[in-house]
Symmetry: C2
Subunit: 287 residues, 2 copies
């Protein structure tokens, strides 16, 4: 439940609760941008469950997913045995400035939160370029208020999404962004409130579970490689309590979170077969 | 009607139609961001008028307004005799990129319209700093779609508000912004569609009308000065067909388009008295 987290952060909320890293009460009280809570939204659609959390610990957890990236397609492999999941840092900044008339307020008297948001968005890209792959940095959400052509904004709300496979580099990136925000805010005379929407360290799946996916793909005659996951997945939460693996299938043009997202039926079948046979083997092993 | 223009551009729409510079049909067909037209909105509130446009040409036009800026308060004058209105250039940019997953899409494969919007917003401020006052430049509106923390945006819509008292400098600023947008868009591999929301050249009020405001303020014992208007006003449209003047009163802390906008009652009284006596004099003059 709520794996995406776009309306109610953090992402992977359901699996986080399942493994006991977040309480049910805490999850149900998370609110969206309009103040509706997870609990209210679940009641509204009649989907508030009654099972206890944390849930039973499984013998193992295996997740099949599209890659959501371009690696498998570009390298020509059908199956990806996922080595782990990169760390994720999501922040929300609320920048509070001084709303004013765009025609009569001299530049020197402005405290424009929209400008600071724009500077931060540009910096996030510059930092990703400077520190290099596999760091990715994204500002996908900017909301100005009142958001009018002839009014210097009163407030700007924005999100920053940083990801890296190495926890140390991810922390360096977070620090550099925080320093830049402080400097840009001071320069424009605006206040900034930070809120962490999600923060997960990089996860490394158990070597024998990764090897099991590779061996199974080989036995079924599917070409395969290993790769880390760029996206967050429920598997990274289950990895806290049980041996965990992930199987990736190719994404057409690497597209995801896009209406053109597509995986060929033959690749879906291959992924499903690897999942099935990995589960058979795990079920046959002594616990 | 629709002097502000924030929902239905251009601003000063009613006076523009009154003086015959825009047809009634054209004005009624302007749509807001959700596709509602001016005509539909007027029907909805029962305010669609039947008077013919263009309207009768008046002997003269005099407009009383708060300054909406800090000049009168800072210099200690009660009345401003407005010399003219700075030129206004409003543009809307729709930047079309490639929506994608924020975790799995390498920086080198991105076509992020939100980043281009941010770069443009930063450039508008840099340009205002470089060309100096009285140029003002504002990006008051940015809308990303789908506007989610973990998705590289598909599209960004933004507005650019540029104003200057000199038409030539305003054109230079417009050219510099257009060049920067083209360069930033090419660098990120995104497309940009431009739409002009409003474009008015600077207006200079007739010298004898400015002098009439000054003389009247003197006779009533109010301190006064002359200054240009930073904001757009209906008077600049009426100036196309009739002798026109504007009277400014001080704005507390220069604030406007802000809930804290305030003008002292004594200053409002002073402005109203100047307006009254200027109109008496104009009415007594032979036509």
């Amino acid at each position: 439940s709520n794996e995406e987290g776009a309306r109610f952060p953090p992402d992977m909320m359901g699996s986080l609760v399942y493994v006991g890293a977040m309480t049910v009460e805490e999850a149900l009280s998370v609110e969206d941008i309009e103040g509706t809570s997870v609990g209210e939204a679940l009641d509204h659609i009649g989907h508030r469950g009654t099972a206890p959390a944390p849930g039973p610990v499984p013998r193992a957890f295996v997740e099949l997913h599209i890659e959501q990236g371009p690696v498998l397609e570009r390298t020509g492999f059908t199956i990806g045995a996922v080595t782990g999941v990169q760390g994720i840092s999501w922040s929300e900044l609320t920048i509070i400035g001084q709303s004013n008339h765009a025609g009569t307020t001299p530049i020197s008297m402005r405290h424009d939160p929209g400008l600071v948001a724009a500077k931060v968005a540009v910096f996030v890209r510059e930092l990703a370029d400077e520190l290099g792959a596999p760091l990715v940095g994204t500002v996908g959400q900017i909301v100005l208020h009142p958001n009018l052509v002839n009014v210097v904004a009163a407030t700007a709300t924005m999100t920053i999404d940083l990801r890296h496979t190495d926890e140390n580099t991810l922390q360096i990136a977070e620090k550099r962004v925080a320093d830049f925000v402080a400097e840009a805010a001071a320069g424009e005379g605006v206040d900034v409130a930070w809120r962490s929407l999600a923060r997960f360290e990089p996860v490394r799946f158990a070597d024998d579970m990764v090897a099991l996916v590779e061996q199974t793909a080989s036995q079924l005659d599917y070409s395969h490689t290993t790769l880390p996951s760029g996206a967050g997945h429920d598997a990274q939460m289950l990895a806290r309590v049980a041996p965990t693996a992930m199987i990736f299938t190719p994404s057409h043009n690497g597209l995801s979170h896009n209406p053109a997202e597509h995986t060929d039926p033959a690749d879906i079948e291959a992924g499903a077969n690897v999942l099935l046979h990995v589960l058979y083997k795990l079920a046959e092993e002594p616990t």
